[in-house]
Symmetry: C2
Subunit: 156 residues, 2 copies
DNA sequence: GTCATACCCCGAAGAGTATTCGGACCCTGT
DNA sequence: ACAGGGTCCGAATACTCTTCGGGGTATGAC
């Protein structure tokens, strides 16, 4: 291995396998990427140390948890300064409906990805959760028909 | 346990722990949720069978993989019918830059979440990947300052 | 009451896995 | 040739997974 950014073929393979199945045993992982188990273990730990592997997470299905409807909520926050923005972020992340939150550049300031029980639940969330807050200047909601997340992010 | 939708306290705890760390050992998981290891194992398998636990994935940091810049690309596809939409979806999911793809209701048809090396890379992706396609009628790109994904989805 | 049924849970133990560590190997520069 | 640094490996011990038989408890029929 040469530079600081690039992964060699074995690291890339480890990354691929762990993104595909985070609960694979170290022994099986080692077999798949053709190194000894001890080597494999050390490589995984190195990837974690380097921050390439940021964590391992179970993927729970929102629909199976009674929240089959997803939406994006675009939010404009006024005034758009630290004292307003930081509490707003904390508020959104504390909502059980929230799946993800993006702070974006453009006409809107935030894009909130939510999963709810049904349209009535979404309506309640919008009215009671968002429009009732003073700093929320504008809302725009888009229903999500389907959402596909790619699990295998590859280097460059 | 009664219904089909609800999880009891132990299942909810298992879900929480596995979303927090998918590589926790079954023994440690059992200790955290206060059941025997064998019981815990069976519960995890039941959650997988039921589709509540859809998978386990390593979380790779796009920035550490040389792609520190993220954006949403809103796309309008014309005509919006099966023969056009399905190849488009396949195309987007095959792009290495794509992190996620949503099919949405509203003025735009798709929202594509991408991670790229830099602005020039994004520009190339837009021009060569998207606007060069016949079915792409409109594009709107928003840079992402920060993106926070919540890992712990709770029931209801 | 008491019996049957259906769950859920548990602990023991063999099979299997993780992890450490010393040493082999292979570059690279002197 | 040889020293230094890095990477990899396999053996061995400690630890974990997984199966399986059995115990506890709630429910409902008689």
């Amino acid at each position: 291995m040469t530079g600081n950014t690039v992964l060699d073929a074995i690291d890339a393979a480890i990354l691929r396998e762990l993104q595909n199945d985070a609960r694979i045993s170290n022994k099986d992982l080692a077999a798949r990427v053709n190194v000894a188990a001890s080597t494999c273990l050390e490589r995984v730990r190195a990837l974690q140390r380097r921050g390439v592997l940021a964590g391992f997470h179970a993927d729970a299905d929102p629909a199976a948890l009674g929240r089959p409807l997803q939406a994006y909520i675009a939010v404009r926050v006024r005034p758009h300064n630290r004292d307003v923005v930081e509490p707003f972020i904390r508020f959104v992340l504390d909502l059980p409906e929230t799946l993800a939150l993006s702070h974006i550049a453009g006409a809107d300031d935030f894009l909130v990805h939510v999963a709810v029980r049904d349209a009535a639940h979404l309506q309640r969330l919008l009215l009671d959760g968002f429009t009732s807050r003073r700093e929320v200047a504008h809302l725009e909601t888009q229903l999500i028909f389907s959402h596909i997340r790619k699990w295998d992010i590859s280097p460059l």
